[in-house]
Symmetry: C3
């Protein structure tokens, strides 16, 4: 008689290394999701914006934005993994797989690969490797994330397990050629900028210039679109009494904002192929304005391809802090995101 059928989410005690979680509920992605993604971030990358541009890149339709795919897969994992999370600590070993098109149906499966209690006895860290799959069981994205989770009972004893060994970054040579679109006929007039892979230098820094102020309605619409149910994003009544007194914005919303802003200077980086790592340095709240800048960390060729190259980018997002001075997490207040990824560009 007392709500026992409701899901209160898993606590640290509920996880065990080796455990596999098949996350509900599957989701068919549509042109509606794509339009909302455009409305939420203003993304302009030509590959995702135009069916015809996508066809000149060897795809039969415009693919769904890489981060929209990521957010939908991530959202599926929240009820099982992070409903009681204190913080989403980091990402590693992320790879984007086959393109997702409107009409595809996505689901997510996670394996627990690490578990440890924090010394305070109240929380711990769970490491999971999540795989997003389409209706043909093809990988669309996979990544490791680790998250701080509450214990149900401070007295309980947790069978710890050493954290997994995680690669510092995804090796460029392991990026599959088939995940990189065909850029042989890339139209630099329509794409928005003339800059090719060869025009970027390791160490180069790019201020993406523009700022985007976030409203409560926007991040709530986004996070619900991803069917992400984490309570901190939606419930002002509870959050008014919480850590920040306010609703916390889903970290993925910041990633997508920064990615959309990065069009200005990186318009031809049309495809994200790997997520090397990343962390949400500080929270974002409604009313804050997000800025972003990028640094080219590395460059790589794609085996057997002379039309495409890879850039390893560090993408930094800030709040209420313009990026002309390229602020870094350890040096400046206001940095909220520090992301490391490989993107594919035309040569």
């Amino acid at each position: 008689m007392s709500g026992l059928k409701s899901n209160r989410g898993n606590f640290l005690e509920d996880f065990a290394v080796g455990q596999t979680l098949e996350h509900p509920t599957p989701r068919t992605v549509t042109a509606g999701d794509v339009a909302l993604y455009t409305a939420l971030y203003g993304s302009r990358f030509a590959l995702q914006s135009s069916e015809i541009f996508a066809q000149t890149c060897g795809l039969h339709l415009a693919p769904v934005d890489d981060w929209l795919v990521f957010h939908i897969v991530f959202g599926k994992t929240v009820p099982d993994i992070s409903l009681n999370a204190v913080a989403n600590l980091g990402y590693a070993e992320g790879r984007f797989g086959v393109p997702v098109y409107a009409g595809d149906t996505l689901r997510a499966v996670s394996e627990v690969i690490g578990l440890r209690e924090n010394s305070n006895g109240k929380t711990g860290v769970v490491y999971v490797r999540t795989c997003g799959l389409n209706q043909n069981n093809q990988d669309v994205v996979s990544y490791v994330r680790w998250v701080m989770v509450r214990k149900r009972d401070e007295a309980s004893v947790i069978a710890g397990h050493p954290p997994p060994e995680l690669a510092d970054h995804v090796g460029a040579q392991s990026v599959l050629s088939r995940t990189v679109p065909d850029f042989s006929n890339f139209d630099f007039g329509l794409s928005g900028e003339p800059h090719r892979w060869g025009d970027y230098a390791v160490g180069e820094k790019i201020d993406h210039m523009d700022g985007m102020t976030v409203e409560e309605a926007e991040h709530q619409l986004a996070t619900r679109l991803y069917q992400n149910t984490a309570r901190v994003h939606f419930n002002q009544f509870a959050e008014a009494r919480g850590r920040f007194g306010r609703r916390l914005i889903y970290g993925g919303h910041v990633i997508s904002l920064a990615r959309a802003l990065s069009f200005n200077g990186l318009a031809n980086a049309v495809k994200v192929v790997a997520l090397n790592g990343g962390r949400h340095v500080a929270p974002l709240f409604a009313g804050d304005t997000v800025f972003a800048w990028s640094e080219v960390l590395d460059k790589a060729e794609v085996a057997g391809r002379d039309d495409a190259g890879l850039l390893r980018l560090r993408l930094i997002a800030t709040r209420d802090l313009a990026c002309a001075q390229f602020p870094l997490p350890d040096e400046a207040d206001g940095v909220i995101l520090d992301l490391d990824m490989w993107v594919a560009m035309p040569r």
Copy 2:
């Protein structure tokens, strides 16, 4: 020369029992509407979320959410029936018919079935039976609602008519088997919860736990999506001088929020088959946080079906009031919705 072509809405004097209203304007429902519905409420019911899950339930595509269908049909009736409404008083005898899919075109027809003046001489109550139809003239939803409407002129004499006799609830035996999806191959792993029809007991109460804070932009987007033009939802300039000093949120927005929250504990109640009754107990305003709980009022079999059963649910929504104590309209401040419906579940 004076705006005589504009619709000021109907007043009590404009209605007569037996009158039929064919409401403009028809509306083709699309994948875009479905995506917006997800973004507005975060609904996760597997039947509506996944084309493939729907196909395992014998449908050829994912059906449009029952309440989205209801809201679109309801919206069509507003310019004719409730533009000058003081309050939407209640619903009865609601039935959901054939599934609606993206691409279907909906229209609405209402018949006035009751009319009475209030003793204050300023307002009255109009009862209508509304039927939503698809492009093949099949019923998609029908329901009775009654609404308090202003008189144009206090002096006018209204030909009253006894209120119609309305069933206390829709008889379970009258629910058509063909409106209940085929649950023979229902995947309880993907649907989100293991609970079957047999796991619910009459009298059982379920706290849906989560809370959702509503923003002005959200309810306005929703209500416009339904092409519902009732003025109280949109015009802060006028409402600042009105009853509440604020824009009133469309009652259907509360229904959809409560329904989406009810996933937590009722994930397998994937199909609403009847609206037995309901009333908007108190208004909701932007900034309020909505919570919900359900009580199982009754259970019923579906004739000739051993894969599916019906639950009669009372769905209560509150504002700024968590539902662990199962607050009731007559006992607690903060209750805003009291809805009674039949839902279909796998056995």
Copy 3:
């Protein structure tokens, strides 16, 4: 090492008469965009709302709203033309071409047709003729606009050029019959109003009655949907120090709000065929409530057609000012838009 790859936008010095700008990035319009447009404005014109209604008007699908087409084309021009604009001054010679359907891919091309420096030496005016094209290189909309743009350097000398001669309005006789849907079977019951072309008189004024309050999230979603990147709409951090202290709402948002409000009294004006002229008289900010009224400036037949006629309408929008008194720009505070267009209606 300093963000040289980012686009800072063009300044007055960067324009020359005769210059052609092929704007990135192409955009495939979908049912998702259409649904968002409905959610943003609540538009109810039957031709765009119902696939079946559109088919009775000789189209194979419901066409995309004329102003959504305009905004997408306009948005493409912003990074090249008005990123550093002080104000969008006016429109002329606008024509809507072939219908746009979900699935079409749009791009935009502009030619600079006039250029002059302002006497303050700090700014100037650029005149462009923009053409929106579909994937078959058919015109979907074309128009002239002129915009006040900052100089990069006050000392620079601008090769002025006389402003182009612009028609006071588009000649009705030049409206192509094929851009006017077939109204022979127009259903006045479903369209929302009984008024035909013949029911409107030159000089007639129509108060559209309703008001719509705008939220920050709404105009930001709209403007990003159009991939319009003008900074003044999005960056509160910068605008707090700017001219108004607030984010400025994209003028096109006002056009679409006023057009949607105009349904009330002009429900059968289902097709905009020409934009004779227009100016944004004053800015709109979030929290303001928009009202609208129309005046019939002229009437015209469509050559060879007895099913359709044209109305030349002046559409006025206001903020926080009801329109029962038909306020004019030069007489009343609160007028924000003064638009002049030809619309097609059934006879």
